[in-house]
C-alpha cells in the first residue's frame, strides 16, 4: 500500500472520485495549471480537462456562489478557497444561501458541494494565512464541517464529504499537509461523517483535538508517559455535527478533560464542547475542563507565531492541572 502524505491522499481521493463521478467539477484560484498552491489538485486538469478543473478569477464569493449554482443543477462542485483567511468573503454565501437552500425550499432545491480550505497556522505564512474559523462554521446551520488529522483520514473523509447530500466545508490542516506519511489504500473507502475517532485509548484524561493539534497532543502524550499519565485522545473529525456520544462516553470514564484548538479561545469550539459536557456528564467531572487554545488576538507574524500556537508543553501543563485538581 502506498505511503502518502495528506496532500497526496487528498489528491488521490479527488482523482479517484472524479473518475467515478463525472458530475464532479473542481474550481478555484490556481487549482488547474498550477495544481493548487499546495499542489493538492496537481495533475487533475491534465487528466480531466479544463471544463472539470477550472482556474477561476480571484473572487471567493464568486467561486462559492457559482459552485452553489452548479450544485443546484446536479453537478458536484468541489471549490477550493486558497487560504483560511479568504473564507470570510464567502461567509455570506455560505450562511445566507448554501446552508439554507434545502430548508427554505422544503427539500426541493439542494446544493451538495464541498468547499476545501487549507487552514491553521504553523507554517510561518504571511498574515491571513493561519486562521482557524471552524467555530464560526460550526455555528452555521445547514452545513457540515469536517477536519481530517491524518492522510488516511483525509481520503476517507473527503470521499464521504463529496458524496454527502449536504454541503460540507472541508478544512485541511495545512501544517501537517506533508508532515505525516502513512499507508493510504488506493480505491474506494469512506469514513462516515459525524463519527469521532478514538486516536488513543487511555484512562486518566480525555483530550479532544482536531486537525494539526492531534499531532501536538500525541507528542504531549508521549511526554506524559514518563509521569504515568494515560491520555485518551479523541478527534471529532466532523466538528459539525459533533459526535457527542463518543466524547461523553470518554468523559464518563476519565472525569477529566483538556480541549486543544488553534482558534482564539473566546467562543472557540472548545467552549461548545465544555457546554456539552456540562449538559451531559456534569456529575462525572472531577475537575474543571482546561482549554489549550490560541489567544484572542490576530495570529502573529512568523517571529512571534510560536507564542500563539498550542504546543505539547502547554498541553502537558493543562493535563497536569486537571490531574492535580
Amino acid at each position: 500500500m502506498p505511503r502518502l502524505n495528506m496532500v497526496e491522499a487528498i489528491n488521490l481521493a479527488l482523482r479517484e472520485e472524479m473518475e467515478r463521478d463525472d458530475r464532479i467539477v473542481v474550481l478555484g484560484e490556481d487549482v488547474g495549471r498550477e495544481g493548487g498552491v499546495f499542489r493538492v489538485t496537481d495533475g487533475l486538469q491534465a487528466r480531466f480537462g479544463d471544463d472539470r478543473v477550472v482556474d477561476t478569477p480571484l473572487a471567493e464569493a464568486g467561486i462559492v456562489g457559482t459552485a452553489m449554482g452548479m450544485a443546484l443543477y446536479g453537478l458536484r462542485p468541489i471549490a477550493e478557497i486558497q487560504f483560511d483567511g479568504f473564507l470570510y468573503p464567502c461567509l455570506d454565501q455560505i450562511t445566507n444561501h448554501i446552508g439554507r437552500m434545502r430548508n427554505r425550499s422544503r427539500g426541493r432545491f439542494t446544493c451538495p458541494l464541498v468547499i476545501r480550505v487549507p487552514y491553521g497556522g504553523g507554517i510561518h505564512a504571511p498574515e491571513h494565512h493561519s486562521e482557524s474559523p471552524e467555530a464560526i462554521l460550526a455555528h452555521t446551520p445547514g452545513i457540515k464541517v469536517v477536519i481530517p488529522s491524518t492522510p488516511y483520514e483525509a481520503k476517507g473523509l473527503l470521499l464521504s464529504s463529496i458524496r454527502s447530500p449536504d454541503p460540507v466545508i472541508f478544512l485541511e490542516p495545512k501544517r501537517i499537509y506533508r508532515a505525516i506519511r502513512e499507508e493510504v489504500p488506493e480505491g474506494d473507502y469512506t469514513i462516515p461523517l459525524g463519527k469521532a475517532r478514538m486516536v488513543q485509548k487511555g484512562k486518566d484524561v480525555t483530550v479532544i483535538a482536531w486537525g494539526a493539534m492531534v499531532r501536538e497532543v500525541l507528542n504531549a502524550a508521549e511526554e506524559l508517559k514518563g509521569d504515568k499519565i494515560n491520555l485518551e485522545i479523541i478527534d471529532p473529525r466532523t466538528i459539525s455535527p459533533m459526535d457527542v456520544d463518543s466524547i461523553i462516553h470518554s468523559v464518563r470514564k476519565t472525569g477529566r478533560v483538556v480541549i486543544v484548538h488553534e482558534a482564539p479561545k473566546t467562543c472557540g469550539l472548545g467552549a461548545e464542547i465544555i457546554a456539552l459536557i456540562n449538559e451531559k456528564a456534569f456529575l462525572s467531572l472531577q475537575s474543571p475542563i482546561e482549554r489549550v487554545t490560541g489567544f484572542d488576538i490576530p495570529v502573529p507574524l512568523l517571529k512571534s507565531e510560536h507564542y500563539y500556537l498550542p504546543n505539547p508543553k502547554r498541553i502537558v501543563m493543562a493535563v497536569k492541572k486537571v490531574m492535580s485538581f
Binding site: T66, M68, M70, G74, R102, S105, P141, G194
Partner: protein
Amino acid sequence: MSLFDDYHPLKGKMFQILKPDGTLHLDMKPPVSDQEIFNLYQKMVFIRLADQKALMLQRQGRMGTYAPVWGQEACQVGSASVLRKGDWVFPAFRELGASLMMGVPLKTIYLYWMGNEEGSRAPDGINMMPVSIPVGTHPLHAVGTAWAAKIKGDKIVTVSYFGDGATSKGDFHEAMNLAGVFKVPTIFFCQNNQFAISVPRKIQTASETIAQKAVAYGVDGIQVDGNDLFAVYAATKEAVDKARSGGGATLIEGVTYRFGPHTTADDPTKYRREEEIEPWKALDPLVRLRLYLKGRGLWNDEVEKQVTEKAQNEIDQAVKEAEAVSTPDVEDIFKYVYAEMTPQLQEQMEYLKGTL
C-alpha cells in the same frame, strides 16, 4: 448587426418598440402575434391584480411584509415569456410576475409571503428558485447553474432578476465577471425601477446607465424601455437565443418605475413626492399595451371587464387555498435542514415539543 451592436450601451440609446402612445416606432413591429400579445396582456392584468390583492391582504394582517411588483409587469412578463421548459429563473423578491409566468401557482407565492416555507417550493419541474432577500447575491447562482448546464452540454439558459440597487454589490460584479470569462448562458435582468428603497438611482452609481456596466466584463449590455413589453420581449429573446447558441451572457437594463412602496413596511412619502411619480404614470406598461390593443381592435371596456373578472376569481380562489393551509408542524422547521436530521436537531426538536 445584432441588437446589441445597434444599441450598444455607450451609444446612449434606449431600445423601444412601442411608444407610450401605443403606436409603434417606424420600421418596427411587435415580436409576437396579436393573439400572443393579448395573452401576455391578460397575464399582466392578472399580475397587477394579484399584486394589489397581496397589498390588501397585508394591510388586513393576513400576510407578512410584501414587495409589490406594481409598474414592473412588462419587465417580468416580457422577459420570462421568452423562456422554455428547462430554463431556470433566479428572482430577487419582487418577482411575483416572473414566478407566475414560470408556472408557480399563485397560492404558493402567497403562502411564502404569509410566512410559510412551503411557499418557497416551486412545483417539481418548474425551475423557479425561491426569493432571494440578500440583494445582489443570487446572480452568482444563476451563473453557476448556467455554467453547469454548459459543462453538461445542455442547451438551457438561466435568468436572474435584480434591481438597480443590486448592481452596487460585490457579488453582482463577481457574477458578471465570471459569466464573461466563462461565456456562461445567463441573462442578468436588471429592473431599474429608479429606487433602492429610498436611495434614488443617481446615488446608486455614477455610471450613466446600468447597461454600460457590461463593458467592464466584456459582455453585451442593452438598455431597454422596461415598460414596453415588446422591447423587453425582443431584447430578452435575442439574449436568450444568443446564450443558447453559445454566445454567452447579456446584461439587460429594463428602465421602469416602482409605483408602489418598496415593501408594505415602507412609506415612500418620506423620500419622493407625488409629482415625481406623475410622469411615470403616463408610461404605465399596461396603459400603453391597452392603447396598442385598442388600436388593433382587440381591446375595449367589455374585454377589460372580462379579463379582470376572470383574474379576480382565480385570485380569490388562490387566497382561499393559501389561507386554508394550516400552520407548519414543529417538525417542519427541523427536518429539511439536512438530508437526514442530525442527532443535535433530533434532540432539540424533542426538547421543543416538550415545551409547547
